[in-house]
Structure formats: C-alpha cells, structure tokens
C-alpha cells in the first residue's frame, strides 16, 4: 500500500477528511521549507502539497505567482525541491508528499531521472497541472515503476466521458478543481460542489480532494463534509507575503491557519455536527 493510500485508509477509519496544505517550495527562501513542512504536519496536515516554482505559472493566481517569483530569486529548481523532500523524510516517514507544478521542469530533468530521484527522495505523488492524461502515457509508466502516484485534476467543465478517462489514469486521489479559474479565486459554491462530488463517486473509488477557492476554516469545514480531502493553497501562501521574507514567522502563521482549519474540519465531521452544507 502506498503512503497516500495508507493515509486515506486511516482517515476513513477515523471519519476524518484529509487536510492538505500547499506551499511553494523555496518561499520565502530555500531554508524555510523543510521546517515549514514539519510545522504544518504538527498543526494537523495529513498530506503536503509542495509547489515546484515555475517561471510561467499559468494556472495560478497572483498569490502563488508571487510565491514562485520569491522562490525563483534563489533559483530553487526541481532538484532542490526533491532534496527538500529527502530532508523532510529523514524525520517524517509517514506523511505523504505530493509535488504540484508544471510539466517543463520535469521534462527538462528527464522523466526517468525524475522518477528515480523522486523515489529515492521519498516522494509520493506528482501533479502537473498542464499535463492531461492524454499526454501522460510516458511519464505515468515511469512514475508507476517508481511507486509515485500520478494525480490528475477534474474540473467543473470535465465531461462525463473525460471523467472516466481521467479516473482510469489517476492514482492516489483525484483532485477536483472546485471552480473555473486560477488558484486563489473566491467563488466556491459548496452545494454545487456536493452534487458534483456525488456524481464523481459513480466514476471512481479513489478519494476525492477539493482545491481552489478554500480560503478559511469555515469553507474548509463545509468542504470537509462532502469531500475526502481539502487542499488549501493561496490562503496559506498569502501569509508568506504578509510576513515579508521571515520564514519562521510565516511557518507560525501557516501552522495557526492549519490548526484552525483542522479543528473546524474535524468538528464538521463529528457525529453531532449539522449535516447541512
């Protein structure tokens, strides 16, 4: 069983939804990331999504664009990010780590080298937002050999036929993009989301994570009632900007947000909680 499967199995048993914070690796500086990851786990994160900085983050809103720019000031690249994962693994052998980013850095490194290095580092999953299943055959084969789950997105615009296609290629969990837009957008409609997730469950038995547009503990709790995982990105990354280059202050603030979301999400799933969304 992969680390991701293991983690979702445990959570299912406890009737909890996974909390997955996203942070951009190397933001605000390279040394800040591994301590930040540990702080997030301690505050209640179940998986960590680590963003690979990219010069042209087309699917990201201004908050994560700026995070990429901050990280790129230090030249943080994919090899550095994998080294951070390896460093994290020295202390934490159970929390799954998924890289999220764009295809070109992986292409440049070479799929084979990436798969080998990532396996050695203890990486669990890879989500490249600009790689639909149609173009992913080569890389998916290599990832599977290395025990790394390819994570794919399903969007509000994904047709029924495509859903099956995506679900067949996906491993680990399916990432449902909750809205039409870039990361950090602000118009999540929870009741429409619930209906959509119901529909998706007819197509896949994989856990369903929801991301884009989860800004606060209240939204996280609402989503936790209907999804298996809640991905929170811009709401956390925004704090790096607020703490202006101070990695430790950022980690404390990020941990506080995660803790608050954790509490709200667990309360929403507790037997006494109102079932309405």
């Amino acid at each position: 069983m992969s680390r991701i499967e293991q983690r979702f199995a445990e959570l299912r048993e406890q009737n909890r939804a996974a909390l997955i914070p996203y942070v951009t690796a190397g933001d605000p500086e390279p040394g800040a990331t591994v301590p930040l990851m540990h702080a997030l786990v301690e505050a209640g994160a179940d998986l960590i999504e680590l963003g690979v900085p990219f010069s042209d983050p087309m699917a990201d809103g201004p908050v994560i664009q700026k995070a990429c720019e901050r990280a790129l000031r230090f030249g943080t690249g994919l090899r550095d990010v994998l080294a951070m994962v390896a460093e994290f693994r020295k202390q934490d052998t159970t929390t799954p780590v998924v890289l999220m980013g764009y295809l070109n850095p992986v292409e440049r490194m070479g799929y084979e080298t990436f798969a080998e290095t990532a396996k050695a580092a203890g990486l669990d999953g890879l989500l490249t937002v600009d790689l639909p299943p149609e173009e992913s055959e080569d890389v998916v084969g290599l990832l599977e050999q290395s025990g790394i789950d390819p994570i794919f997105l399903i969007a509000p615009t994904t047709s029924e036929t495509r859903i099956d296609h995506v679900a067949r290629a996906a491993r680990g969990f399916v990432y449902y993009v909750s809205l039409k837009g870039v990361t950090g957008s602000q118009s999540l409609d929870v009741s429409a989301l619930a209906e959509r997730l119901e529909g998706l469950r007819c197509h896949t038995g994989l856990p369903l994570g929801v991301g884009f547009g989860i800004r606060d503990a209240e939204t996280a709790a609402q989503v936790a009632r209907v999804a298996d995982a809640v991905v929170v990105g811009s709401a956390i990354v925004r704090l790096a900007e607020e703490h202006d280059g101070d990695g430790e202050a950022f980690a404390r603030a990020a941990a506080a947000v995660v803790r608050e979301m954790r509490t709200a999400m667990d309360a929403a799933r507790s037997p006494g909680a109102a079932a309405t969304v």
Binding site: S55, M58, R108
Partner: protein
Amino acid sequence: MNKIDWAAFPDARGHFGPYGGRFVSETLMGALDELQQVYEQYIGDPDFLAELDHDLKQFVGRPNPLYHAERLSQELGGAQIYLKREDLNHTGAHKVNNTIGQALLAKKLGKTRIIAETGAGQHGVATATVAARLGLECVIYMGEEDTRRQSQNVYRMRLLGAEVVGVKSGTRTLKDALNEAMRDWVTNVDDTFYIIGTVAGPHPYPAMVRDFQSVIGREAREQHLAMTGKLPDTLVACVGGGSNAIGLFHPFLGDESVEMIGVEAGGDGVETGRHSAPLCAGQPGVLHGNRTYLMEDENGQIIGTHSVSAGLDYPGVGPEHAWLKDIGRVNYVSVTDDQALAGFHRMTRTEGIIPALETSHAIAHVLDLAPQMRPDQSIIINLSGRGDKDLNTVAEREGITL
C-alpha cells in the same frame, strides 16, 4: 527526403512528430474539444469559406500584391526579390487574416467576449478591429514593457473599444501576456473566445492559425507562377511564434524545389544569450499548451528573451516549426537587432516601403542571401507588416526624440 503527406499533420491530437499536443489544465480541455470540433466542421464548409473569402476581400483588402522589388534586386545583384505585401492589409500586418477567421468561429460558437494576447500590438489591433466590427466585448493582454514600446498600438486598441490590460508579472512581455490571457480564459471559459495570435498554444490553435494564414502562401504561389511562369527558389519569413512564416511556407511544402528559411530574432547575438531564437539556440520543452523548442535554463525555467522587435520577443515557437526544423524541411537562422535595423533602412530607402521591425529580420537575411544567388532565381520575402508602429523605437535607438 521521403514523400511526406503534409496534409496529415498534425495528427488527430495535434502532434507534429514529437511536438505540439495539448498541455493545458483540465478546465480548458472541454473548450478546446469544442473549438476543435467547430474548426474541423467549418474549415471544410463551403458557406463558411465563402464568408471568410468575402471578409478577406472586402474588409482586409485581399489579395494583396506580390511586388517585384526591382531596385533592391538590382542593387544586390543576385536573385530577384519579391515582396508579399501583408503590410497592405487592413490594420497593417498579416495578423488580421487569422483574427477574421477566428472571430467567425467565435460567432458560430455564440461567444460574446473576445480575449487576446499581443506583443507588438499588431495582433491586439487586429483582434480589437474584428471585435469592434462584430460588436463583441474585447480584452487585450499586453506585457507592460510592450505597452511602453508600442504605445501607439495601445491607443489604437483603445480607440477600437478594447480594454488593454498591462501585464506586470514575469518579464512583462509577450509570454506573460499569454499566461494572463490563459488565466482569463480558464476563469471565463463559458462566454469567452480566446483568439491566439500565432501558431502556438494547445491544439487546435497551431493548425487552425496556420490554416487561416495559409492564404498568404496560396496567393503568393499563384502570383509568382503567373508573373514568372515558375515557382520561387526561396521563401524567407521572420519567425516569432511563426504564423506569417507558416502562412507563406505551408502551401509550398510539397514543392520540393522550393527552399524555405525562417529568420529568428538574434537580439544582441545568439552567442550573448540575449536573443529570442529558440529554434537556433533552444531545446524542446513544454510551454503554453504545446511541446516545442524553448529558451529555458537548466531547471526548465523559461528565460527572459530580448529583441528590438516586440513581436519576436517570445521564448517559444509554433510546434510545426520545431518539427520542420528537425526533419530538415525548413532552415532556421537568426539575425541581430543591428542587422534588422540595417534591413529596415535599406528597404525603406530603396523601395519606399517602411517595414515592421519583425519583418526587417527577414529582409536583413535576404541582404546576405540574394547576392549569393543568380539573377534568374527568385526569393519571396513575406513582408509581414508595416513599420509605422516602430518609428518611436527606431528613432530612440538613433538618439532622436519624436
């Protein structure tokens, strides 16, 4: 070379050999499927093609001439030089051939809002123009650096009723404008049609834009045959994303005797690293929805480009060019900013035609090439646009304030 069935490219999923394809976030996949479907339906539809022809004739002013540049040919003392006069199109460049076509498709799809990216502003102007004509809302994304270099075109777009958004992210040039347009599209995909301005982007854009631009080569082929009784020996065009070049080249691909040269922007010189010549000095990667040659660093980050011409200042290139390079059908070279400037002046003074700085790159290459050829041979240069938009840039480089 083995006989290639040029019409068979791209394949059904938009691949030219290893290049092209569709590398976008899931949210856009449905819209691209929809676009591919209408494009495939209409590109063979006689009524649609008649409508397109009508617009190209009555609104754009096609066919434009294939002009024999006799004085320049004589001065250079080699091949006869012919100019395909895309600068005489309405709005002053080849870009409008494509925006007319895509706008017709937008109408068929019932979209009410048009967006586009622009570098030099020519595509932005051509898009704002068709949007005005059809009464569609129009938003143009343009890197801040380019809004400064091409301020006249910014004003033209605004006069035409478009909203021009200056993009402040990244290097503030064309690639960042494209990123921002993609972000807009992913957010407003229900009512918005994205008119990409060159043969880049995810499938079906490279094929669709090529098909709309191929009117250039179809006309030029017929005109050259009528004027000289034979095919040209060499075609030369500048390559930014590559739409004017592919438009000229594509109808000639099956004519094995015709040599083709794409001219990239060498900036300060390819050896300095300050240039925009991915085919000459880049390597394959994935950006803006397709696999192609890119300018990138060892981490796969896209690097800043440089060219005196905003329309060539782009780190990628259309995937069909990447493939044509690899199979050896087209030869790609680069010329520097200074050479392009020399080409600009030479054309202006010798033929009375002020070319765009983008086009001046193709001209500069011909200044070297023509003397190596015989007077019974011929070259067609794609005169992709006129230079009015570049007067400030040229003056500034020469220390003149207008």
